[in-house]
Amino acid sequence: MIVCKAFLKVIRKNIGMIIIYTVIFLVFSVANSRTGETQTTFVSEKPSVCLVTEDDSLLSDCLCRYIGEHMEIVDLPEQDRADALFYKEICSIIRIPKHYGRNVCSGEQTAVGIQTSVDYKAEFVKLMLERFGRVQNIYVKTTDSEQELVNAIESALESSVKVEVASALDEKALTAASDFYNFAAYSMMACIVFIICLVLSSFNEIMIRKRTLVSSMPYGKYSTLLMLSSCLYAMAVWAVLVLLSFCIVPDGMKTDRGIWYVMNGCLYMLVSLTLAYLLSTVLKGKNAITGIVNVITLGCSFLCGVFVPADYLPDSVMAVARVLPTYWYVQTNELLKTTETLDKTTVLPILIHFAVLSGFCVLFYAAGMMISRHNRRIA
C-alpha cells in the first residue's frame, strides 16, 4: 500500500499537467461539437452564366426559363464576356442559336453553344443543359407541335422526387461521439504516458532504486505494486473521459455504439499504459521525458487523423500511420460512426482492430520487460 500511496502523492504533485491536458481536450471537444453543427448545414448557390439568345421560338423561351430557374443570368456586353469568363465572374456563356426551336422540331441536330471555365460550377451548368437536351429529345418524337413539346418538357422537368435517407443511424450524434473519442486519443495518451513516465522516473531514480533494493520488500512485489498503481491511474483517466463523453455527447453514447466506443477507449488506455511503461524503462531525466513524450503523442495524433480527419491526409502518411496504435483506434471510431448495423459480419473488422490494439499492448509490455531486465543486469 505504501508504494501505491507514494505513487498517488507524486501524481498529485503533477496535477497541474493533468489539468492542462484535460482543458486542452475539453476545448477541442467543445470547439469540434460547434463546427460539427455547421458542417451539416448547406447553402444553395446558383452558378452565374451569361445567356445569349439568337432565337425567339417557344422552345428557346422554355430553355431560357429553365436556365433562369437553375442559374444566375448575368447581362454582359459582348466585348466583356470573355474577360468575365476568364476572371470567373461567370462560369459559362450559353448561346441559343438562330432557328433553334424550328430546327429541333424538324428533327435536325441543333446544339446549344456553351463556353465554360474549368470549375465545378461549369460542370453543373453542362449537366443541367444535358438534362434539358435529353428530355427535349425524348418528347420531340412523340409531340406534334412546338407548343406540345414545350408543355411536355416543362411538365417533365417540374416533376420532382422526394429523396429520403433510409439510414437508421443518428449520423449527427455518432459523428459527435466519434470526434469526441478521436480527440480523446491525444489527451488520454498525453495524460497517461507523460504522467506515468514522470512518476516512474522518480521511482526509478538510481539512488531511490538502490534504497528499494536494499529494503526488505521483494523487488518483484515492488514492481508489481508500481504497475498496479500505474494501472489504477490510467483507469481513472479513462473513466473520467468516459464520464465526460456521457456528458458532452450523450446522444451518441446512448446508442448501441456507446459500449463499443468505451471498449475501444479502454484498449487505447491499455496501449498508452504499456507504452508509458516501455518509455519509462528507456527515458532518463524529466526533461527528456517532456520532449520525447510530446513528440510521440502529438506525432501519433497528427499522423493518424486525430486533429486532421484521416480523409484529408495523403496515402503515404496513412501508410506510415498504420504502424501506430492511434491509427487503429481512430479507424475503429470511424467504423463505429459509419457502419449501418452491427452484426457478426460488420463487427469483425472492429474486432480485428481490437486485436491489433491488444497486439500493441503485448508488444510494448514485452519490450519494456526486456529492457527493464537488461537495465537491472547492467546495474
Partner: protein, 312 residues
C-alpha cells in the same frame, strides 16, 4: 560481544581490475567499524557487495550467521543504509519521505508512525515535517537522508561517506546522531576518507587501498604502527634549497619535507621537539609565520604503509 557481520575472502573483480581483493573482517555487536581509504580504494564496492547490490566474484558474507543474498529479506529487515548521495523523493514532504522508506520495512501503521517520530526526533527534523526536499539546506537534506535510512530501527547500519560536502556544524550533528544510534543498540559500518572522523567515531578502523586491507585495529593501535613519535609543522613562506639541505643536516633525529610553504619535520624518537626546532630555525635565520606540534595521525600510518598521503 557477538559477531553481527562476517566477511570472508571477499573478492570483486571487474574485467581487468580487482576492486576488492581477498577482504576479510568482522563487525561486532554495538561496534562502529570504519572503512578508511582514499577514493577508489574499494570501500563503497565492499559495502555494495555486502548489501547484495553488487555480485561478488568469490568469498562469503554472513549476517547473524546467515548467508547474505539479494533475496535474504529477513536479513535486510535488520539493515539500514545511508548512501553518500541523497536518496529521497523531490515530490514528497520530509514526513512522507520518511514514511515511505520506513513503510518498505514496517507494515504496521501505528508502529511505523512511532518509529518515524523517533527518526524525526533523532535527526532534529521536527520543524521541517511539511517541507519539501528542495526547501531544505544541504545539512538538513543529509539529515533527512539519514532519517530515511534509520527510521525502521535497523540493528546493522551502513553509512557511506555521509559527511561529504557538509558544513562542520551539520557534520558534528551527523556524527553525534551515529553515536546515539550505537547507544540505542545498532552496529555501524562507516566508510569515509576523512581520517579525523574515523578517529573520532570508530571503535575499530580498517585502512584500505586498492581493494586490500592495509591495516586494522583501534585508532591508537593503528597509530602505534608508525615510527613517527611527533610531527612539528612550520609555515615557512620562503625556503631556499641550500637552507633546506643545511636544515636536514641540523635535524639528525627526524625526516624533513617542504611542500607548499609548509615545513614538516617528523621525529622518530621522543616528544617535545618543538623548542629544539625553534632554536635551529632562529640560528639559521629562517623566518616562519606559525609553528605547532602534532601527534602522529592515521594519515602518517597511511603514508608509511603506502608512501602516499590519504588525501591524495
Amino acid at each position: 560481544m557477538s559477531v553481527i557481520l562476517e566477511v570472508s575472502h571477499l573478492t570483486k573483480e571487474y574485467k581487468t581490475v580487482k576492486a576488492v581483493d581477498d577482504l576479510s573482517f568482522t563487525l561486532n555487536e554495538h561496534e562502529i567499524l570504519g572503512l578508511l581509504g582514499p577514493n577508489g580504494s574499494g570501500k563503497s564496492t565492499t559495502m555494495n557487495c555486502i548489501l547484495s547490490l553488487l555480485r561478488y566474484s568469490s568469498g562469503s558474507i554472513r549476517i547473524h550467521g546467515k548467508e547474505m543474498s539479494p533475496s535474504a529479506y529477513d536479513l535486510k529487515q535488520e539493515i539500514g543504509v545511508i548512501f553518500q548521495d541523497v536518496a529521497v523523493f523531490e515530490e514528497l514532504t520530509v514526513y512522507d519521505n520518511i514514511r515511505y522508506f520506513c513503510g518498505l520495512y514496517i507494515r504496521d501503521r501505528k508502529t511505523a508512525e512511532a518509529y518515524i517520530e523517533d527518526a524525526i526526533h533523532l535527526t532534529g527534523l521536527e520543524d521541517y515535517r511539511k517541507f519539501y526536499p528542495k526547501q531544505l539546506s544541504g545539512g538538513l537534506l543529509r539529515r533527512l537522508n539519514i532519517a530515511c535510512g534509520i527510521a525502521h530501527k535497523p540493528k546493522l547500519l551502513f553509512f557511506d561517506e555521509p559527511t561529504v560536502a557538509v558544513d562542520p556544524q551539520s557534520r558534528n550533528n551527523i556524527l553525534e546522531g551515529i553515536e546515539k544510534l550505537r547507544e540505542q543498540g545498532a552496529s555501524v559500518i562507516y566508510t569515509t576518507h576523512y581520517m579525523e572522523e574515523a578517529e573520532q567515531l570508530c571503535d575499530r578502523i580498517i585502512i584500505m587501498d586498492k581493494g586490500k586491507i592495509l591495516a586494522s585495529g583501534t585508532p591508537d593501535s593503528l597509530k602505534s604502527i608508525t615510527s613517527v613519535t611527533e610531527k612539528v609543522m612550520a609555515e615557512v613562506p620562503r625556503l631556499s634549497e641550500e637552507k633546506l639541505h643545511k636544515l636536514e643536516g641540523e635535524v639528525t633525529n627526524g625526516s624533513i619535507r617542504y611542500e607548499n610553504g609548509r615545513l614538516v619535520v617528523s621525529f622518530h624518537d621522543g616528544k617535545d621537539h618543538i623548542t629544539h626546532l625553534i632554536d635551529i630555525l632562529r640560528r639559521m635565520q629562517i623566518s616562519y609565520l606559525r609553528i605547532y606540534s602534532e601527534r602522529p595521525t592515521l594519515n602518517d600510518v597511511f603514508l608509511e604503509l603506502t608512501g602516499k598521503e590519504l588525501r591524495d
